[in-house]
Structure formats: C-alpha cells, structure tokens
C-alpha cells in the first residue's frame, strides 16, 4: 500500500545543507502496524510530515519516491494533497491538550473531516460522530457532543483526536508519539484502543515513538532510526530480542530496568545511613 524508497530530506536554509533524513526505506501493507523508533532529532517526525505533504518550505525532498495506493505522492499538487489528507491518510500527534480548538464543541471537531471530504447532511454527520465517539470509548457521546475541550481530560481528548482522525475511514494513520504526554495507565488504554481500531477498520498505523516498550506492545515490524538513517529494521520480536546493531543495543539498554533501579535505590539508602 505504502512504498517509500530512498527518501532523503534536506534543510536548505543552512550552509552546508543539513541532511535530516537519508535514504529512508519503508513498505507497508494495509492493516499493518509499523513502528519507527529513534531519539529526538533522528528524523522520525520529518518522515511523517513528508508523508502528509506538510514539510516546511526550507525542507526539500532531494531524492527518493513515495508511492501510496499506486499514486506518486511527490508529484501531487497542493489541492490534491488537501483532498488526500484526512481522507486517505490522517495523523494524530503528541499534544492532546492543545490539538483541539478551544472554542469549538467536541462534536463540531469530530465532524471536521466529514465536512471537508464528504457531502453528508448535518444529521448523518452527527450520527456518524456519535457512533465514532462510542467506538473510541467515550461515555455519554450525546452529552460530550456539546462539550468544549477544556471540560475533558487528556486521555479523553486523545480519544477524541483518534476518533476525528478515523472518522473518514482513512487507509493509513500516522500516530506521532500519541501516548507520550499521557500517564502510564491512560497510555495502555490508548494503545489498546489503537489496536482495536486497527483490527475493526483495517486502518494501517505508522506508529512513531521513542518508547521501545510501547513499540513492542503494538507493532508487528519496527524501523530504528538514528541521525536520519535507518539503523535496523525487521519484525519487532527479532529486532528487540536480538539486536544486530550497536545503536539498537544501546537503545535497548537505555530502558530503565525496574528491578535494577529498586535494588540500587535500596543500596543507596543503606549507604547514606
């Protein structure tokens, strides 16, 4: 479904030009969940922005190709991008607290994508929005429909975001660190929600994160990025169980180990007595 080959993105407003992404390969089948993992500045977000056609003016795609559903994304015009965004590819990102418009009701924002891409009647839109709200696990959708974002918690807002990204039934959803701003219990809920939506709607998810545990729990395949380059890629279990590259090993060993840190805490406490 998605086929990225040899993608390179360069920032051309600095001298010498800064290579943000270099020779990126990715292919995704429909219904698949693929993770991109890497530290801040490794080019994960640049790649996803390129996929949405929303790179800043200074950033140029210098080589490579992106094919989506058999169409070449790189030759699309602004108008064609607008028709594609939200309809075929949608994206959610990190900050559920600020990604909803504070002065519009939840219902109004859930429907935005329908307003943009379909000619549905108001009644039909509302029905679809309410339906989607209960699908993403929001209780009392009728009541919530008329609420404003400030009345909702972070987890609820992220559910709203997911719902509004999926309401147009896109083929691909890019999730750029969707759980980073949430606490651990809510994180788990959102992850299982994403999994559920993936199974029910068949939406492929490109999951971007720096959290290896999150990637492990949701993705089938993973791409590890470092400084704009792919370091390692393959099925999650293989890559995370037996990493081949030094960087992946380092990344894995950077996960704080609970047992270890507890032991160290106790030791330090004893020593300080």
């Amino acid at each position: 479904m998605l086929e990225i080959q040899g993608l390179s993105i360069e920032f051309q407003d600095v001298n010498p030009p800064f290579l943000a992404v270099q020779d990126f390969f990715l292919s995704m089948n429909s219904g698949e969940i693929v993770g991109i993992v890497g530290e801040s500045g490794s080019g994960k977000t640049m790649t996803s922005l390129a996929l949405m056609g929303l790179l800043k003016r200074q950033a140029k795609i210098t080589s490579g190709s992106m094919m989506f559903l058999g169409e070449d994304l790189l030759s699309k015009s602004q108008k064609e991008w607008q028709a594609l965004r939200g309809k075929e590819i949608s994206m959610i990102f990190q900050e559920p607290m600020t990604s909803l418009n504070p002065v519009l009701t939840i219902g109004r924002q859930m429907e935005e994508s329908l307003r943009l891409h379909t000619k549905m009647e108001a009644k039909e839109r509302k029905k679809k929005a309410l339906d989607m709200m209960s699908q993403v696990g929001l209780a009392q959708p009728e009541k919530l429909y008329r609420c404003y974002p400030h009345q909702l918690s972070g987890g609820m807002r992220q559910r709203v975001m997911i719902g509004s990204a999926l309401i147009g039934n896109p083929k691909l959803m890019i999730a750029d660190e969707p759980t980073t701003a949430l606490d651990v219990t809510i994180q788990a809920q959102i992850l299982s929600l994403l999994k559920k939506m993936n199974q029910e709607h068949g939406t492929a998810i490109l999951f971007i994160s720096h959290d290896l545990r999150v990637i492990q729990s949701i993705c089938s395949r993973v791409v590890v990025m470092y400084q704009g380059k792919i370091v390692e890629s393959g099925p999650v279990q293989t890559v995370l169980r037996s990493p081949q590259q030094a960087y992946t090993k380092k990344l894995l060993s950077a996960i704080p180990n609970r047992a270890y840190s507890l032991r160290r805490d106790r030791k330090e406490r004893i020593e300080s007595c």
Partner: protein, 273 residues
C-alpha cells in the same frame, strides 16, 4: 466524592453585569435612534421663530433651539446620523482592518512587513489630523466622514487582529485541521476567527465609541456632518453659543452621547471579562 465516569465539570456562569448594563444602555439608545429614523414629533429641520429658545414644555420636552426647531426631534434624528457614521466607520475600518490583520498575521512574509510599516506610518499621525487631511481631499459631508474615519481606523484593528492571529497560527489545533485536509482560508475563518472574537468584539465596542467621539469632534469643528443635517456633535457645536439661553439643546444631545459611549464601553468590558 470521586466524580463518576462521564461526569463533566459544570462551568458555573457568573452574571456578567458589565455586559447586561451595557446591553441595556445600548438597547435604549438604539431604540431611540430607530424611532428617529421613522418618526419624529416635528420635522427636525422646520424652523419656527416664534418658538425660539422655547423652554421645556409638554409639546417640546427638550425645548427649542435658536431657530425654533424642536430639540427632541433633532436629537432623535441626530443620534441616528451619529450612529450611522460610527457604524459605517466600524464596517470599513473594522472590516478591512480585520481582514488585513488575519492575512498578514497568518501568512507573514514580505506583505506583512510592508503593510505593518505602512501601518506604523499611519499610526504616527494623530487620528483627527489624518481624518482632517482626508476630508480636505474628499470634501465634507456625512459619507465622506465615514470614509475618512474608516480609513483612519484600519491600522488599529489590523494590528490587534494580527497579533492575535500570530498567537494562534502555530497552535496544534491549527496543525490538526491542516492534517485533516483543511485549507488555509478555512483555518483562518472557521478555526482562528472564532478564537479571537472576544478580543475583536471588545475592540469593536471601543472603536464605536471612538468613532462617535471623532464624528462629534469633526462635526463640532464644522468639517463633519453639514447643516441642516442633525448630528450629535453638530447640534452641540451650534448650540454652544446659546448654552445659557437654551440649555436643553446642549444638554440632551450630550446626554444621548454619554449614554451611547457608556453603553458601548460597558459592553466592551463585558466582552473582555
């Protein structure tokens, strides 16, 4: 007690006394003005020298002026003229200013620079002086006053709206509309504009007051509304010489102006609360 799932914070609405009292005053003045458009007890321009400086009577509740014209009828008519000038000024100045501010703030770049420097130029002149220059080019009269004041009022609105738009254009909710396939125009008018309407309304109310006062000032100087048309400023300027002989013809127009300005001032405070 822990709130149940689906229980939303109820936002307690306090009574907005500024808004209510401002609204009442504005309504009173508006009704007064609307009546004046269709009905005045006497012809506002009919002179009757036998009634020169007539005191307050039941037939002439506000007395008569130096030409024996009924002050009550003239105040009714005059407040309409003043209102028209102020409203016209706001439509031109507020409308164009808001549009300019929206576009320059959102898109930035060189048009923004050019327009803002031009703005600085206009702001450097005192408002009344600038309006005087326009009037001397266009010639006096009701509609030219509207045009002149309208142009003079553009920069303040453009500046205000621009600074608000700059705050909002980089917010995540704007990004998420973009990701759903919304166009720039849609973002500006459907998503950003509602966010700044509070500030805009209070600026409009203050602008209305300034326009009323400017019109009164210009008519007082003799370059605004021309006789025999009645306007609040015009009436006060004409009656000034006879303030002791016929206090009513200064007092009542002044009172109506105070009510108008106070009303809109309170409305503006109410909007910004």
């Amino acid at each position: 007690m822990r709130p149940k799932k689906g229980d939303f914070k109820k936002v307690k609405k306090e009574k907005n006394y500024y808004f209510i009292s401002g609204g009442i005053l504005v309504t009173v003045v508006t009704v007064f003005m609307l009546v004046g458009l269709f009905y005045t007890p006497y012809d506002s321009e009919a002179m009757d020298l036998s009634l020169k400086f007539a005191p307050f009577t039941l037939a002439h509740p506000f007395g008569c002026d130096q030409f024996g014209r009924d002050v009550f009828s003239r105040v009714l008519k005059g407040s309409g003229t003043t209102f028209l000038v102020a409203a016209g000024t706001l439509i031109i100045g507020g409308g164009l200013g808001t549009l300019l501010g929206l576009f320059t703030g959102y898109f930035g770049g060189w048009p923004d620079e050019v327009l803002m420097r031009f703005n600085d130029l206009v702001v450097a002149f005192p408002n009344i002086l600038l309006a005087l220059i326009f009037i001397s080019i266009l010639g006096p009269g009701k509609y030219n006053v509207i045009l002149a004041l309208g142009i003079v009022f553009i920069p303040s609105f453009a500046r205000l709206v621009r600074s608000e738009v700059i705050v909002h254009r980089d917010m995540d909710y704007v990004k998420s509309v973009r990701l759903m396939g919304g166009s720039h125009l849609r973002i500006l008018f459907v998503h950003i504009l509602p966010n700044i309407k509070g500030t805009l309304f209070s600026a409009l109310a203050i602008g209305f007051n300034n326009a009323v006062l400017s019109e009164a000032g210009m008519s007082y100087l003799g370059i605004g509304v021309q006789p025999p048309d009645a306007s609040i400023g015009r009436m006060m300027s004409e009656a000034q010489a006879y303030i002791f002989a016929a206090p009513g013809s200064v007092l009542f127009p002044g009172l109506v102006m105070i009510l108008m300005v106070l009303g809109f001032g309170l409305l503006s405070d109410g909007c910004s609360v």
